[in-house]
């Protein structure tokens, strides 16, 4: 019994020692910066100059800033372009690799390779593939279509960046779907097959309803990620965001405005607050849609 009392006496201090490093890091480098961001968004702080309180001035400026609207437009378009593809294609891919036919583990792993590679590697690979004289254009010319300026036109650039995002995300969401598909009762498929439903019909009436909540999860994850896109566009269109900056995303704008020795920390923080608000709104929206549609 002496041992137990000894342990009991120790307990009030030791749990906090266990949690302390984690709380310290998360507090100092996530929660404190979060609060600082919100506070800074009401100041005119710059990297080297401590700011003064300016009320809503940053947000008023933001409304009249063309670059802000360009960034918001591109980040929103990114959701529209990327999310449907990332909800549907990985599901089809998961169905393709679901059956345990010989060599399937090789294919599963191979399809995951783009997920493992750094976005910088992936971006530069595609910059070279989509180059005016790159592989894709060589192939297009060989089949007689002719060369396409994937990386020079404002809209083609944005579309190419979206394609890269989808390409890199396919394997990741495929694995999520594979786990969900494993839980679909086989009897449902058999019953539908007996009723004479074809493959497409079974997909729509059995598979899709069964993995619905996973589709919502994928939609939530991919839409939040799409809205925060930075690297793909930065690498394909360049640090300035393509011709006349027309491909700049919101997070690129945060990076351009707020970093370096002349960074406008206050204004960049206001932009960051917009990123927060939209991110949280997206998550709530998708989760609410899920609850409403549920039988």
């Amino acid at each position: 019994m002496a041992g137990v009392t000894r342990v009991r006496r120790q307990l009030p201090t030791s749990p906090w020692l266990f949690a302390a490093p984690g709380l310290l890091v998360v507090g100092a480098f996530v929660l404190y910066p979060f609060v600082t961001t919100v506070v800074n968004s009401f100041t005119d702080r710059r990297t080297l100059i401590p700011g003064r309180f300016v009320g809503l001035a940053n947000f008023r400026e933001l409304i009249h800033d063309d670059m802000f609207w360009t960034g918001l437009r591109n980040s929103t378009l990114y959701i529209v372009g990327v999310v449907p593809a990332l909800v549907v294609l990985p599901l089809l891919l998961a169905l393709l690799v679901q059956k345990n036919i010989p060599g399937i583990t090789f294919f599963r792993s191979a399809f995951y390779t783009p997920v493992v590679a750094s976005i910088v590697v992936v971006g530069l690979i595609w910059v070279w593939l989509l180059d005016e004289r790159g592989l894709v254009n060589s192939l297009l010319e060989t089949v007689g279509i002719g060369r396409v300026g994937f990386l020079s036109d404002q809209w083609l650039l944005l579309l190419s960046a979206m394609a890269v995002t989808v390409w890199k995300g396919l394997g990741y969401y495929m694995i999520i779907y594979l786990a969900a598909l494993a839980g679909v009762p086989r009897e449902l498929h058999e019953a539908a097959a007996v009723d004479g439903a074809g493959a497409v019909r079974r997909f729509l009436t059995v598979t899709v309803p069964a993995v619905r909540s996973t589709m919502v999860l994928v939609a939530a994850l991919s839409s939040v990620a799409a809205f925060k896109t930075f690297s793909e566009v930065y690498l394909l269109a360049g640090p300035d965001g393509g011709p006349a900056g027309e491909d700049t995303t919101l997070v690129m704008l945060v990076q351009q405005t707020g970093t370096g020795l002349t960074g406008r920390v206050g204004y960049a923080s206001a932009l960051s607050v917009v990123v927060f608000v939209v991110t949280v709104a997206l998550m709530l929206l998708v989760l609410r849609a899920d609850r409403r549609d549920r039988p």
Binding site: Q10, S14, A19, L96, N100, A110, S118, I125, G263, S272
Partner: protein, 295 residues
């Protein structure tokens, strides 16, 4: 309990699905064709990059139709990358950052996860809530404040500054917490009654049982740090301190027209991770599931 004996008929076709049903030849052929098409799309770009990096200075890399294999494979471009940027120093920097990230995340999240899951003390719920809130904060929205925090600490432009913000991620803490919660409590209770203190129970009993989760944390910490782009781009400004991803971006920005050079650089950056993935696939896939559930 009438488990059917292995059906003889199934032996006629070696190709059966996971339920032992035969797959028709036509369907099987179609599946392999589709698998090969997706393989070409997902892995092809990496091979093209590898092929480009092995082509000598006299070989035409822009030919149409493209030549997929180098005529005279050479490592010339890899030597040139090392002459152009200190690529091995950058690789070493990436390795240091990734290694440090693995150690801090494993130690920090195991300790904090154990405190959240097993130790009894006042404020445990609040501590858990702190980590959940921190997990929801989008990194892209706080990078400017993280940058100013690093400047205040005098850690901008250092590798420590690169590691610190993600050194113990909230998601990993919660992942470890779940792993500990899933362990049966009886053994630890017995040890508690026998007078083992929190440290002994953590190190001798709990920790050895969550090696799998710890491996997932380690792998994703390594991959996250090795692949990271936005944060090191912001915090590092001195080219001698660059990590590999930032060095590649610099190489691309400065020598954009030298595709062979950039290709060799990207191969150097991606090869270690593909090797790691080839050896430890299991944990990569497991991490996807656990990460997605946390959202």
């Amino acid at each position: 309990m009438s488990t059917a004996p292995p059906v003889r008929a199934a032996k006629e076709s070696r190709f059966t699905d996971e339920h032992g049903r035969r797959i028709r030849f036509g369907e099987l052929a179609l599946r392999y064709v589709l698998l090969l098409v997706v393989l070409a799309v997902t892995v092809g770009p990496f091979l093209w990059q590898l092929s480009t990096s092995l082509k000598g200075p006299t070989e035409d890399i822009f030919s149409s139709p493209p030549s997929l294999l180098p005529e005279h494979p050479t490592l010339h471009n890899y030597r040139r990358v090392a002459d152009t940027i200190p690529v091995w120093d950058y690789a070493l920097n990436s390795l240091k950052v990734a290694g440090a990230n693995v150690v801090t995340n494993c130690v920090g999240s195991a300790l904090a996860g154990y405190a959240l899951a097993r130790l009894r003390y006042r404020g445990r719920r609040i501590a858990t809530l702190v980590f959940i809130l921190a997990m929801l904060v989008p990194v892209e929205g706080i990078i400017i404040a993280q940058f100013t925090t690093m400047r205040e600490l005098g850690l901008n432009n250092t590798l420590i500054g690169v590691v610190l913000p993600g050194s113990i991620s909230a998601m990993n803490v919660l992942l470890m917490r779940n792993a500990f919660l899933n362990l049966p409590y009886e053994i630890e209770e017995a040890a508690y009654v026998d007078g083992a203190d929190a440290w002994q129970r953590f190190l001798r009993i709990a920790l050895p049982s969550v090696k799998g989760a710890l491996a997932v944390v380690a792998i994703f910490a390594f991959m996250g740090a090795w692949d990271d782009f936005l944060w090191p781009l912001i915090v590092l400004s001195d080219p001698s301190r660059f990590t590999l991803t930032i060095g590649l971006n610099y190489l691309h920005g400065t020598f954009a027209n030298d595709e062979r050079l950039v290709a060799a650089g990207t191969v150097i950056a991606v090869a270690p991770l593909i090797a790691l993935f080839a050896c430890l696939q299991r944990y990569f896939f497991r991490g996807v599931g656990e990460g997605a559930v946390k959202g």
